[in-house]
């Protein structure tokens, strides 16, 4: 279980981020290290002033999906940011912003939620990923 799980988050919709947070928390509970690399619209969702905002759903969700997601939230499902906070408390979860995406969005680390541990390039990400699986979401 020593090889890390490496999640590359690209999409910034709440459903995809929720799925990623669940994968992260599950791995953390098993004692598996997790590296999360935030690119493009996923990084945008981690802005400090917007992290708790409504980020919409993936197009395939449709209106039925919207209803289902809302029902789960109403039943007490934690928002993805909260799930990630708990995962970080529990295990070794490192969340890094992609430096190219920082340039793209024109933001600095001070603009990001404290969940984000730092900024790195793709080379550092691969180096930390080691022999572990890389999953793109």
């Amino acid at each position: 279980m020593d090889e890390p799980l490496n999640l590359v988050l690209f999409s910034g919709t709440d459903d995809r981020l929720q799925a990623a947070a669940v994968l992260t928390a599950g791995a953390a509970a098993l004692g598996k290290p997790v590296n999360v690399f935030l690119q493009y619209w996923a990084l945008d969702a981690f802005r400090a002033d917007r992290i708790d905002a409504d980020h919409g759903l993936a197009p395939e969700a449709g209106t039925e999906g919207r209803r289902a997601v809302d029902a789960l939230a109403k039943a007490g499902q934690a928002p993805w940011a909260e799930t990630l906070r708990q995962a970080k408390e529990l295990g070794s979860v490192d969340i890094q912003a992609c430096s190219l995406s920082m340039d793209l969005l024109g933001i600095e680390q001070a603009d990001l939620d404290p969940l984000v541990d730092g900024v790195e390039g793709v080379t550092a990400f691969y180096l930390n990923a080691g022999e572990g699986q890389v999953v793109f979401i």
């Binding site: 669940v22 928390a25 953390a28 509970a29 004692g31 799930t83 529990l90 295990g91």
Partner: protein, 78 residues
Amino acid sequence: MEVLNITQTVDARGLSCPMPIVRTAQAAKVLAPGALIEVLATDPGSTKDLSAWCRSTGNELVEATSDGAVYRFVIRRK
């Protein structure tokens, strides 16, 4: 029948995946070896998840029962 002295109960009823496991792992982190953790959950995935978590982390699944609505597990902390 052996009477189990539960050290701590994790009430994860109403919580969806992966919170029952996250709460269990949080409890296990601070308890002493040998402690008995009772987990109550309603998430239908929790039976497979709890046993997989126990196998993977070396904790012992002592009991796994269900009354149809609530799943109850007792885990002995490694």
